[in-house]
Amino acid sequence: MDTIKTQVRKYVMDNFLMGAFPEELRDEDSFMGRHVLDSVGVLELISYLEQTFGIKVEDEEMVPDNLDSLNCVARYLQRKLAMVTA
């Protein structure tokens, strides 16, 4: 879980904050609430998750509970990856 979170954090920091503001984002911070991601940013995040982790994000899974913080993404990914390996 921590490895996933570290990997996603690096992507978010590099892609959306140009790697310049590491103090900006705690694990529980809302991406959208902190204006780190907007709706297009979420689409980019989804493309990254699908390509990097080999999952398919379904339309009905595109909700803030799955995607709007590092904690949310890590939990969601863990569930998805468990389904893939099950």
């Binding site: 907007d38 989804i46 009905e60």
Partner: protein, 336 residues
């Protein structure tokens, strides 16, 4: 003032959007005269006529303010424009008695790569897409409490309709390509404005302006936006007051940008404009989602989703409203 929010909520209906059309059109006309002559120092205005209610009302208000001889109408169709829209634009220009030009921008868009870039992105989602196929983009997610995303809908020559969620790259490329349409139109509007020493009128209504439903440096570019403070319902009321053609007063808002018929609510807004107007008004006046819900016929949870969607679009499109950012202020030049 004086009525509590609760009392207003009981009465929340389309009536909150009622305006005195005679007074409002006179007020806008006075403002237009002041802005065009004393702020912008121009001799008249250019209005691009789409055939829709917003541009028609703007043109009619400009004629009322400045007279028909100081208003130039432009009809700027392209390959995907509906012929009905062009016909309505021409009807409005003729009724208002203004000089107008029709310039088909299809060849310019072809030359600049608009259709090629768009079709390339569409084909990466639907490889069979080609000649004779139609397409459009529809929004999903936000009104249901999810994250907004866009689906690409295509129709084959045999009539089969397919739809699929677009990845970020393809979505951005299709939007970027179709934005050529608004930007080429604006280039022509400013050409005519420059040669006549006129100002360019932007035609967004309040919903579009608030929610960022415009192309930066495309239809979002203008010298004056006379109806940006008016809810869509109020624009329709002004259209009727100003005696615009019945077809304009009754037309449902469309994008007229994609080859398949597409309502604005399908492309961008969570709900049809009548409900969006009320939702935006209610949010702007501090009403809760529970107070809004019965007025637009949804559950309180759905109304909360609508509020969240309005706020999300404001955040996402804030950049569209921003002028170029300076690293250091240039004190001698004040922002208007």
């Amino acid at each position: 003032m004086g009525r509590s929010l609760d009392a207003r909520a009981v009465a929340l209906s389309a009536a909150v959007l009622d305006i005195d059309c005679a007074e409002e059109s006179a007020r806008i006309a006075r403002a237009l005269v002041e802005i065009v002559s004393r702020t912008l120092h121009r001799r008249g205005v250019v209005v691009a006529l789409s055939g829709g209610v917003d541009s028609s009302v703007c043109a009619a208000l400009a004629v009322r303010a400045l007279g028909p001889q100081r208003v130039l109408g432009l009809l700027l169709p392209e390959r995907d424009s509906s012929s009905a829209a062009s016909m309505l634009g021409r009807l409005v220009a003729e009724q208002l008695g203004i000089e107008h030009h029709v310039e088909d921008i299809g060849a310019t868009l072809e030359a600049i790569g608009c259709y090629r870039w768009r079709d390339e992105a569409i084909r990466s989602v639907f490889p069979a897409y080609g000649s004779g196929w139609l397409s459009k983009i529809v929004i999903a997610g936000g009104a249901q409490g999810g994250v907004n995303f866009f689906k690409l809908v295509v129709q084959s020559p045999s009539g089969e309709v397919l739809e699929r969620r677009m990845p970020a790259k393809e979505y951005l490329q299709i939007v970027a390509a179709t934005n050529f349409k608004q930007r080429i139109r604006k280039t022509l509007e400013y050409f005519h404005a420059d040669r006549l020493n006129y100002a360019v009128v932007g035609t967004p209504n309040r919903l579009e302006y608030d929610q960022g439903f415009f192309v930066k440096n495309g239809d979002g570019a203008a010298d004056v936006k006379p109806i940006a403070h008016l809810y869509k319902t109020q624009v329709y009321a002004l259209a009727r007051h100003l005696g615009l053609p019945r077809e304009v007063c009754c037309a449902r808002p469309t994008t007229d940008t994609y080859s398949m018929p597409q309502g604005q609510d399908e492309f961008y807004f969570a709900l049809p404009y009548e409900q969006m107007d009320l939702a935006l008004w209610a949010l702007n006046h501090g009403l809760s989602a529970a107070q809004l819900a019965p007025a637009i016929g949804v559950t309180p949870a759905q109304a909360e989703n609508v509020y969240a969607d309005i706020r999300a679009k404001r955040r996402t499109t804030a950049y569209l409203h921003r002028a170029a950012q300076l690293v250091s202020a240039v004190g001698e030049i004040s922002a208007p």
